[in-house]
Amino acid sequence: MKRSSQITSRFALPKLTYRVWKVWMRNWTVFMKTYKVNFFPPLLEPIFYLVALGFGLGSLVQNIQGLPYINFIAPALIAISMMNSSFFECTYGSFVRMYYQKTFDAIIATPVNIEEVIAGELVWGATRSLISSSIVLGVVAAFGLVSSPLFILIPVVAFFAGLMFSAIAMCFTAIAPNIDFFNYPAFLLITPMFLLSGTFFPLADLPGFMQIIAKAFLPLTHAVSLVRGLIVGNLESSLLISLVWIAAVTPFFFILSINLMKRKLIK
């Protein structure tokens, strides 16, 4: 009885109004104040990867799925930037605002409620994903690695995949006793995803059970396959599975993370 009520409270629908937007605006205002710092690293990082892995390593690697190696990894770099920007925004970024800066405490003394604060943070994380991946997309395009006009849909993927990574990140923030705790998800979740989600080599080269794990449990796998499909212009039916996967997982963690944070902050 008690257990079931605990579960329903974890998945209670949050009360959200337009005030989510006010929280988003707060983060946007900070971001724009330091926009040079925010835009420069995401611009340089993919260039390093493309040069080192694409040209360097790529010269030693045969074509993958009919693609030169640099074309194979370029979409992955876009998807990785979605994951990194949103995940780190809603772990370290949100934790600093919540714990060190007490920003959430200040906001909930106004008509904005805690659910709206967390939702605003999540939508902001999705926005960071959109911004970072668009910069990487620009770099990839500048290298001449975009071959389909479908790339125009990538920002949409970026927003929703970013929302998914933000919501997963926020669940860790809700259970983090201190900021060092984030080493666990960073090394045990983000690093394996970075390497094993069909990013730098095809999923098919993994042992069978690992392929299943990657497809069932690693969100990045689905972001990578969607971005790759849109850049190359190869719309397979498996993309639909990725789409459904993200569409199912995102609301699950979105609602869970808001309730977990509420429980953490409103004692």
């Binding site: 005030r19 006010k22 605006m25 707060r26 205002t29 900070v30 104040k33 800066q101 007490k102 920003t103 405490d105 200040a106 906001i107 909930i108 003394a109 106004t110 008509p111 904005v112 409620n113 409103i266 004692k267």
Partner: protein, 337 residues
């Protein structure tokens, strides 16, 4: 003429906007008719097994400055947080301006200004942007927010720090800015949680002046403090809390008279002197603290002077009884936390 006492400070914000909410007559009638702004009945808050606030009942009247006094951990901050709908009570009733904290938290928060104990100014922004961003949370239109922010900076005398980042402000400046931020929505109720803790005397008196100015504007003020001089200087009424309970309530002057009388005699400790005092003031309370004896009596003013004229004593001083004497008497000397 009734407005004469309200046209104050160098800011016309206080002449204008606040008077929309309250005039001199409102305040008087509020206090006289006992119009209630905050009402708590059997209000309780628990954390696991710890009872932070234990079934307290109180009322705060419109236009008054009500002080919550108590040692650390007495439940003052918890009570304040329940009033502004950030902490849900475990049980009991709590209404603000007739609205229940359960039913209408947003409406309550719209009319409430909060200056928390801790510094939660936004370190990512300058002084003015802190106010502007905060105004957004209240749906205050941009031009109005700009106008109010500039006026508030004038009010708290931080105009020259307008564009300075929060990290470069002194503690006193931060406290003033927190007060200004609490006023951005022109609140009818102001909750000040230890507004002057850690400030130097200059900064303290500046804050006190501002609080008095706001009170004259008709803002209902709820203040927590453990500085007794602060409570005596600002509060119309005080509630003394300890271990989650309200143990006494009343006007500061009445509490002093009731619990510790008018004067206190202090002399250096000596066994002989002690005996003599006990004989001379049989009904009085004698308290020994380190090497001083304090004598509290309910006898009228002047009794100690006459006594000292006949029996001069070493290190004797007579002083007015104060709220701190009441506080120590009621809450004891044991260190908290």
């Amino acid at each position: 003429m009734p407005f004469a006492s309200f046209t104050l400070e160098n800011s016309d914000l206080w002449k204008g906007n606040f008077l929309k909410h309250a005039t001199a007559r409102d305040i008087e009638s509020g206090l006289m008719s006992g119009e209630v702004m905050v009402r708590a009945q059997n209000l309780t808050k628990k954390y696991d097994d710890f009872v932070a606030v234990n079934s307290i009942s109180f009322e705060v009247f419109k236009g008054e400055c009500c002080g919550f006094l108590g040692p650390n951990g007495a439940g003052k901050t918890t009570t304040v947080k329940m009033i502004h709908c950030v902490l849900p009570p475990a049980s009991g009733e709590l209404t603000v301006a007739g609205m229940s904290v359960w039913e209408e938290p947003r409406e309550i928060k719209k009319m409430t200004g909060v200056a928390p104990q801790e510094d939660n100014l936004d370190p990512d922004f300058s002084v003015i942007v802190n106010l502007l961003v905060y105004a957004r949370y209240f749906d205050i239109p941009k031009s109005e927010a700009q106008k109010r922010s500039e006026e508030l900076l004038k009010f708290i005398q931080l105009e020259e720090k307008r564009d300075v980042i929060i990290g470069q402000l002194s503690t006193g400046m931060k406290r003033r800015l927190i007060l200004a931020r609490a006023l951005i929505n022109e609140p009818r109720i102001l909750l000040l949680d230890e507004p002057t803790t850690g400030l130097d005397p200059q900064a303290r008196h500046l804050i006190w002046d501002k609080i008095r100015a706001l009170k004259r504007q008709g803002v209902t003020i709820i203040l927590t403090t453990h500085y007794m001089d602060e409570a005596a200087a600002l509060c119309d009424r005080t509630l003394i809390m300890d271990y989650g309970k309200i143990i006494e309530e009343g006007r500061p002057a009445d509490l002093i008279k009731k619990h510790v009388g008018e004067d206190v005699l202090e002399v250096d400790y000596d066994d002989e002197v002690m005996k003599e005092l006990q004989e001379e003031f049989p009904g009085a309370e004698l308290e020994v603290l380190t090497d001083r004896i304090r004598v509290f009596t309910d006898q009228p003013h002047g009794v100690f002077e006459r006594f000292l004229k006949d029996f001069p004593m070493r290190g004797a001083t007579i002083r007015n009884a104060n709220l701190e004497d009441v506080f120590m008497k009621l809450t004891g000397r044991k260190l908290r936390e």
